[in-house]
């Protein structure tokens, strides 16, 4: 009878001791989560106030970030959107830290992998943001310069440059995220090579007449302009 009772109680004792060992970890996780969420909310509020103070929203308007957000159906102010991104990033970090406090081997490995990947994700986001702003800036500069030179295909040229830069930036982002780097490199080479080949074929064979007309039109107008204009603007 005693043996039978031992057989029943031992697993229960083991479960109870395991539970006793687990409770502090659970409490630790709850504390980390509560403090983490409160801290994240506080830091979000500080960040939003700081962004408002430095005029981040009007800067975003100028740089076209707001327009991009609207195109993506995001209607929050850029400062609040960035605050939310920052908040949810912190929440994910807090969640991962909290879960790791449970000391479960499988979760620990997952958390470790997550934190190892985090710097890459951040730098990819950074490359994406800077790249987008840069592509927009360069594209607009090319557009204005081409229009001021009287070039007929200004928009086409500016869009082509913006597209090339975007492709380059996306390739960099994917490479940074290590999403099938071999395929990304191959795809990037194929796209770039494809664009160059398409241009070569369209100008060299398929669109030889159109290309000839474009070049002749530009050259003739430039020649006419050079010959006739000697006004002093300043």
């Amino acid at each position: 009878m005693t043996d039978f009772l031992n057989l029943v109680l031992e697993p229960l004792q083991e479960v109870f001791s395991a539970f006793k060992a687990f409770v502090p970890n659970l409490l630790a996780m709850l504390v980390i989560l509560i403090i983490g969420i409160l801290l994240a909310r506080f830091l979000k509020a500080v960040l939003v106030r700081f962004l408002l103070a430095i005029g981040f929203d009007s800067w975003s308007d100028r740089m076209g970030i707001t327009t991009l957000m609207r195109k993506g159906d995001l209607w929050a102010k850029p400062s609040r959107a960035l605050g939310s991104i920052f908040f949810w990033t912190l929440i994910i970090v807090v969640l991962m830290t909290g879960v790791s406090a449970l000391n479960i081997h499988a979760i620990d490995r997952l958390v470790e992998q997550f934190f190892q990947y985090l710097p890459r994700a951040f730098s990819a986001i950074l490359i994406l943001i800077i790249g987008y702003v840069l592509a927009g800036f360069v594209g607009r500069a090319v557009l204005i310069a081409a229009v001021n030179s009287g070039y007929h295909y200004a928009k086409l040229l500016a869009e082509a440059i913006r597209l090339l830069l975007t492709v380059l930036i996306l390739a960099m982002v994917l490479e940074q995220l290590q999403v099938a780097p071999g395929i990304v490199l191959a795809a990037f080479s194929i796209i770039f090579g494809g664009i160059v080949a398409a241009l070569a074929i369209s100008f060299g064979a398929g669109g030889i007449d159109a290309a000839k007309r474009m070049i002749e039109r530009e050259t003739a107008e430039k020649r006419a302009g050079d010959a006739k204009d000697d006004i002093e603007h300043i």
Partner: protein
């Protein structure tokens, strides 16, 4: 910040000369072909009109590789009697030195201001090194109002071809006049006289890493003098004829530097210009006479084409800057045929004011904003050229006067939108 006074040879020359009455500055960059004439005119002017005054000629060079500074050193009037003059009583000292800082006219002027302050000059003059029409009288007309009239700043007054100087005629002159209430006809003329006191004031400003160091220096000098209540006048110098212009000079880069500097000064002096209404003439010196001017040929069709390209491609930018109302008026111009193309004065005035407001509100990166005005400016220029094609010089000037009045009458629009 580095200055030319750190150079040993310059310090030695300052030590030898010590003080001067008149300092004449000539900024240059590869002007060996023309600077000799300018130096001779300056020397003759100093000999003829200021024989008893101590004078220094400063060539502030941008690193010429064609021997410009050698020409300055070697140029001298060999036979004063041939130009009906006697030798000067006082010698003319020459300092030819490369300037320091950003490459540009403004940095060259800064070197002149530094030397003027170091030599305690009473009156200073700056003249361009590519002038073909400069005469000895220019020195008298730019110096005497300072030395004898008590003025601090002497702007030039030229006769120019009715098609020339369109940035001045359609933007800088009307805008400066409406803002500061003084009719300085050539605020970016390039050849100025000023007192030693004003040179020291210019030098006290920390602007030498901005566009003032480049083309923007002319409007900056004039505006600084006007906004700080220095005594301003202008002298009639006759015709302004340059050496053949640099074909590579980029119009939108010039517009960016000049208009950018003017808009930037609006920020600095907003409390000065906001209450000003109307304008008053400034005192003028010199004997006005009619001069024969070189023929100027223009390609109006190309200008209108650039305007239309702008309308087609810069729609988003123009809408953002001009707003719906003015943009649609501009859009209507695009539908006109070449010969009917006319840019209404009121619309052009609002365009310039809208750009100033957009600059103030930082609606776009500055370079993009100001360079995007180029097609509009070319449209306005084409319109002006067609309007005055059959008119004489005086009638063309009357058209510019109408534009100036439009700027003055619409100033409320600028003030009300400047938040």
């Amino acid at each position: 910040m580095t200055t030319i006074l750190e150079r040993k040879e310059v310090r030695e020359q300052i030590g030898n000369i010590r003080t001067t009455d008149i300092l004449v500055g000539i900024p240059s960059y590869n002007n060996a072909r023309t600077i000799g004439h300018v130096v001779r005119a300056v020397q003759a002017g100093l000999a003829k009109y200021f024989p008893d005054s101590k004078a220094v000629l400063v060539n502030s060079d941008g690193g010429s590789t064609d021997g410009t500074m050698d020409v300055v050193h070697k140029t001298a009037i060999e036979d004063y009697q041939a130009i009906l003059l006697h030798h000067r009583i006082q010698p003319i000292h020459k300092i030819a030195t490369p300037y320091m800082g950003l490459p540009g006219k403004g940095s060259a002027f800064r070197a002149v201001f530094e030397l003027a302050e170091a030599l305690d000059a009473r009156a200073c003059v700056v003249v361009d090194s590519d002038l073909r029409s400069i005469t000895p009288e220019w020195i008298e007309l730019l110096v005497k109002p300072v030395l004898e009239g008590g003025f601090d700043y002497v702007a030039p007054l030229y006769h120019r071809h009715k098609y020339d100087g369109t940035i001045t005629n359609s933007i800088v002159y009307p805008l400066t006049r409406a803002l500061y209430g003084r009719r300085v006809r050539q605020p970016i003329g390039g050849d100025f006289g000023f007192s030693g006191k004003l040179a020291a004031f210019y030098l006290s400003k920390d602007v030498w890493q901005t566009d003032v160091a480049r083309f923007g220096v002319d409007i900056w000098m004039t505006t600084t003098a006007l906004a700080n209540a220095f005594k301003v006048t202008q002298s009639f110098l006759g015709a302004k004829i340059h050496d053949a212009k640099d074909p590579g000079a980029d119009l939108s880069a010039m517009l960016y530097q000049v208009v950018g500097a003017a808009f930037d000064l609006m920020e600095t002096y907003r409390d000065v210009w906001k209450p000003v209404r109307g304008s008053e003439p400034v005192a003028s010196f010199g004997f006005e006479y009619t001069v024969g001017l070189e023929q100027v040929t223009v390609n109006v069709g190309r200008m209108i084409n650039v305007f239309r390209e702008g309308l087609k491609n810069l729609r988003e930018i123009w809408l953002e800057v001009l707003g719906n109302g003015d943009f649609h008026e501009v859009e209507r111009l695009g539908a006109l045929g070449d010969r009917e193309f006319r840019f209404p004065l009121a619309l052009w005035t609002r365009v310039v004011y809208d750009y100033a407001i957009a600059y103030h509100k930082k609606k776009l990166p500055v370079q993009h904003l100001i360079k995007s005005i180029t097609p509009l400016y070319l449209g306005k220029t084409a319109s002006f050229i067609m309007e005055v094609e059959s008119l004489g010089q005086h009638e063309a000037e009357a058209e510019i006067e109408k534009l100036c009045l439009e700027f003055e009458n619409n100033k409320e629009y600028l003030v009300n939108n400047w938040k």
